[in-house]
């Protein structure tokens, strides 16, 4: 499944350009250090963090996309850096647990 297919299937709102990259797994984490230590390229990252570091981490780890959950709004710094680094940022009104469950049901393992 690609990032844009996932965005459509889960009804996610895009605040950056949406990539066509293939998704290779996912992780749910709110600790920056956890993603730096345990993330992998191609993953979708579910988080409630909304500061600029999110884009920096996603770029560092070559993640496929970031889904900010719980109806939180990212700040402008984050969107600017995400656009600059070609990081896809998507928003969900559902909480991390629900988004993770639906992703799992869609076959993202």
């Amino acid at each position: 499944m690609t990032v844009s297919e996932m965005a459509q299937a889960l009804g996610l709102k895009a605040v950056t350009a949406v990539g066509e990259q293939q998704i290779q797994g996912a992780m749910a984490a709110d600790l920056i250090s956890d993603v730096l230590a345990n993330g992998a390229p191609g993953q979708v990252w579910l988080t409630i963090q909304t500061h600029r570091n999110v884009a920096a981490v996603a770029s560092t780890q070559d993640l496929a996309a970031v889904v900010i959950t719980g109806g939180r709004e990212p700040n402008n710094d984050l969107i600017a850096l995400a656009n600059h680094e070609s990081v896809t940022i998507l928003l969900s009104n559902e909480d991390t647990y629900a988004v993770a469950g639906r992703l799992y049901a869609l076959g993202v393992r």
């Binding site: 350009a17 949406v18 990539g19 066509e20 990259q21 293939q22 709110d30 600790l31 920056i32 250090s33 956890d34 730096l36 230590a37 390229p41 191609g42 963090q49 500061h51 600029r52 570091n53 884009a55 920096a56 981490v57 770029s59 560092t60 780890q61 070559d62 710094d77 850096l81 656009n83 600059h84 680094e85 070609s86 896809t88």
Partner: protein
């Protein structure tokens, strides 16, 4: 040639790196006779005099002892015979500065004070020579490990990037690593190496932002065979490195944790990413990380496709 190399070494060192820290001191109320005995026993030519909180109040030199003896006052307290106008140097001064004070005054030993005026050490020609030998040994060990480094410091495809990181600037964490990673990607390095370097630099950046008093520097130098990353700050230093290397151990504040940092994964993660990891730290003076990433032919991207698949397809990507 050799001379300029030693000069370069001296320029790099700070005074605290060349001082002797186990200093014999005395108090103003001691007798001159006791100090004389102390100097004879320890074979030293000057004893700093400190007050009850460790502040320097004077120094007793051989000349002071001789003057007191001459006048028959050797049983009197240090207070009346010590030199009160003491020439001192500061721990954070470049070593060159302290050496020129030694040279100018002709003294054989100079007390070293920290920012608050506390006595923290003594520099002598011997302690300076010792520090130079230690530094030389360290550099020689590095060159033996990677002999090409000595001759080839600027390979044609070389890269040198330096970043200043500001303490407390949480929002900017990751910006240095993102910039460095882009440069590595532009040079066609394999994704795995790009990531490992970027992750290590990100963690180091976060450490400088979270833990230091005045931020620090990150220097990344790439040649044909390695990427070397040096991270340096000037305090506060790590009291227990073994503990800091443990998973989950952290001294970070609650604010820092709310932002998602301070989980105590940083240093272990850096060690995991680098092919060679070295940490040196002294409480009160700072921390230095030396990291090395080896560039195998595969890592250099000689056969692998450049960059992660699919990322070039993204609409509206880039600047």
């Amino acid at each position: 040639m050799e001379f300029s190399f030693v000069q370069e070494l001296v320029h790099r060192l700070k005074t605290f790196q060349a001082m002797q820290t186990d200093v014999v001191t005395t108090r103003a109320e001691q007798r001159m006779r006791e100090v004389q005995a102390l100097m004879r026993a320890r074979r030293i030519s000057g004893v700093p005099v400190v007050d009850e909180v460790g502040d320097l109040v004077g120094i007793v030199t051989i000349e002071d002892i001789i003057r007191a003896l001459d006048h028959g006052h050797i049983e009197e307290p240090v207070d009346t015979w010590m030199t009160k106008d003491v020439v001192t140097v500061r721990d954070r001064w470049p070593l060159t500065e302290s050496m020129s004070v030694l040279d100018r005054t002709g003294y054989g030993r100079l007390p070293v004070l920290d920012e608050s005026g506390k006595l923290v050490g003594i520099v002598t020609p011997e302690s300076i020579l010792h520090s130079l030998l230690v530094e030389l040994n360290r550099l020689l060990a590095q060159d033996e490990e990677h002999p090409h480094q000595a001759v080839d410091r600027s390979a044609p495809d070389g890269l040198r990037m330096e970043f200043q990181v500001t303490a407390g600037d949480y929002d900017s964490a990751g910006l240095s690593s993102v910039r460095l990673k882009r440069e590595l990607a532009n040079r066609g390095l394999a994704q795995d190496v790009q990531r490992r370097v970027a992750i290590a630099v990100y963690e180091a950046e976060a450490n400088l932002i979270i833990h230091t008093e005045r931020g620090g520097q990150i220097l990344a130098v790439m040649d044909d065979e390695t990427i070397r990353v040096t991270v340096e700050d000037d305090g506060p230093g790590i009291a227990d490195i073994d503990l800091a290397m443990k998973h989950g151990w952290s001294t970070a504040s609650d604010l820092v944790r709310t932002l998602g940092f301070g989980a105590g994964l940083g240093l272990p993660n850096i060690r995991k990413c680098a092919d060679h990891f070295e940490i040196r730290s002294a409480p009160g003076y700072g921390t230095r990380l030396n990291l090395r990433f080896d560039l195998t032919p595969a890592a250099r991207g000689d056969s692998a496709p450049k960059g992660p698949a699919g990322r070039g397809d993204e609409a509206g990507a880039g600047e």
